[in-house]
Amino acid sequence: MARIDLRTLAHSYRPNPAGRADYALKPMDMTWRDGGAYALLGPSGCGKTTLLNIISGLLVPSQGQVLFDDEDVTAVIPEDRNIAQVFQFPVIYDTMTVRQNLEFPLRNRRVPEPEIAARVAEIAEALHMTEDLPRKARGLTADAKQKISLGRGLVRQDTAAILFDEPLTVIDPHLKWQLRSQLKALHRRYDFTMIYVTHDQTEALTFADSVVVMHDGEVVQVGTPEELFERPAHTFVGYFIGSPGMNVLPCTVDGRTARVGASEIALARAYAPRNGKVELGVRPEFVRVAPAGAGAESGGVPVRVTGVEDVGRYRIARLRLEGHPMAAILPDDARIDGDTAAVSFDPAHVNVYVDDHRVEGEA
């Protein structure tokens, strides 16, 4: 197992990248802790797979370095990197039995027979696949095939990290959570560094202790699920995590007050006036809706109500604040009459963004 460092890493699929737009992966510095469980989250096309392929060595980055435990492996070929990868679609060797599939990476590395047998037996047991060993791999179900792909990574004792590229895409929904919890158990047992690519936020948030959010070739935030939820470092994280996404309203700031049009909103911290695109972000969960007029003394801001959606567990109010659309989650007992209301925000959960990046205020 190993710690993985990326140093000023960037990648472009073009031979001579001109501007930033040519980069599939913009310059970044990152550290992946030894034994950490990371989820790499982002929409399709944000560079997740590129990053994964660079770590596994399938791609050579156009610039920068990849270090495994301080050793530069940028130029090392995948087979010598001790990385395992589980792909979106199960990759198994059709003609082989399950046992031969698991033995394959060890045989290629000329591991002595007795050791192969011992490793395969151990991993098959850990995957709950011992009785499947003599079976032809071809006939297995998709989830069993994914377990074999994972097993091929685990049998190698020297595996530095295991990379998962949306491994549950083709798995039946009712088997997904089962496989996910098995994966978590395996992670606890073997303590490998794991990087798990997904575009499904629930999968990322329930599974990883650190979530890396990527957007447009950039890592925009690394943090625990709570941090991503409460303090999105980038407006994109606000949109992408949570449902509905964070409300982002153009504003101006001065001290502890933000102004959206004529409405004033209290902030928990003080901010100096800024140039550029200034926005405030507040999650629908932290927006309180009160009947119109009732909010005057509690700092309520008048809004127009454009609709209320019942999404099952809760209701979402669709509002317009100074013409800007926003959403609020309504408590069970809340009632809205007519098409106007007043909203107030929990100041501790109002974030300020300049050019999409969160800025920290002064106490």
Partner: protein, 300 residues
């Protein structure tokens, strides 16, 4: 070989998303052992092997008969188009091309149009004897034309179709219809059945659905099937020659008969041969993007 071992799927290293970005520079190469480019070498040798005889034919068609017989040169010393001029000015020659084209096109149209509904039936429904019927159709692809030559001759003579284009076109259906059904069935099975159901719910009648919605969906399949029908009808000679004498005589037969008659006019023979390659080359050029796919989608 080691070198090619790891570079063989360079494209593999590039995620699908990057397909437009090109692969240059993105890919590692392991540089163990020498750097002999084995693959391009093999491919080049193979292509040279394929093209050399064709080149020789073309080069010969541009020589005079005297030059062909007297001197031996890798390219025409005394370039002449007289051989081509002779073919293009003599109806006995050029009508051969016209005749071939007529029956090939007829055959392609007939084969594809009868195969379309049949392939649809095989890909969508089960019915009494469907498997046996499918297999029986395919066995016709295994029928040696030599076996059928004489019976065909008698059959078409007895119904007065001997020496007509339609006779050859129908005869070629023997092997082209099964092939077209087979290829189209493969393509149609790849189209989800929900599309049919949705269309029927939307009130489409079967013919309207089939021509307006379904056929555009399998257009590449129709193209591939037509290509193969064209190809096998264009290259066949035994049946085409047996079923014709004058009015519908194919170019291929014109060539064989002229060889035996005039014997030694190599230049004209080569020019006629070179001209038979042209339609095929044109057709390949138009379907080049579908050739490889077409082969993969049939069902066995």
């Amino acid at each position: 070989m080691q070198q090619s071992a790891t570079t063989m799927r360079e494209g593999a290293a590039v995620p699908q998303r990057a397909a437009t970005g090109g692969t240059a520079g993105a890919v590692r190469r392991r540089t163990r052992g020498g750097g002999v480019p084995v693959k391009p070498l093999i491919l080049t040798l193979y292509l040279v092997f394929l093209l050399l005889p064709i080149y020789w034919l073309v080069s010969m068609s541009l020589k005079t008969n005297e030059e062909i017989l007297s001197t031996f040169a890798l390219w025409p010393q005394d370039l002449t188009f007289a051989n081509y001029a002779e073919i293009l000015s003599d109806p006995a020659w050029y009508m051969g091309y016209v005749n071939s084209t007529i029956y090939v096109v007829l055959n392609t149209v007939i084969s594809v149009s009868v195969a379309l509904p049949a392939a649809y039936a095989f890909s969508r429904y089960r019915f009494l004897g469907d498997k046996h019927l499918f297999f029986w159709l395919l066995t016709n692809r295994m029928a040696p034309p030599a076996v059928f030559a004489l019976p065909f001759f008698q059959l078409y003579s007895s119904i007065g179709l001997f020496d007509t284009h339609i006779a050859v076109a129908l005869a070629h259906c023997l092997f082209n219809v099964p092939l077209a059904v087979w290829i189209l069935e493969g393509f149609m099975s790849g189209v989800p059945r929900e599309i049919d159901e949705t269309a029927y719910i939307d009130g489409y009648s079967f013919p309207r659905f089939f021509t307006r919605i379904f056929m555009p969906l399998i257009a590449p399949g129709i193209g591939v099937a037509a290509f193969f029908c064209f190809m096998f009808s264009w290259v066949e000679l035994l049946l085409a020659r047996t079923l014709t004498s004058v009015d519908a005589k194919p170019i291929a037969a014109t060539m064989t008969r002229t060889v035996s008659a005039s014997g030694l006019d190599w230049g004209v023979l080569a020019a006629a041969g070179a001209l038979t390659i042209v339609p095929g080359a044109l057709v390949i050029y138009f379907v080049r993007n579908y050739i490889a796919k077409g082969f993969a989608l049939g069902r066995v």
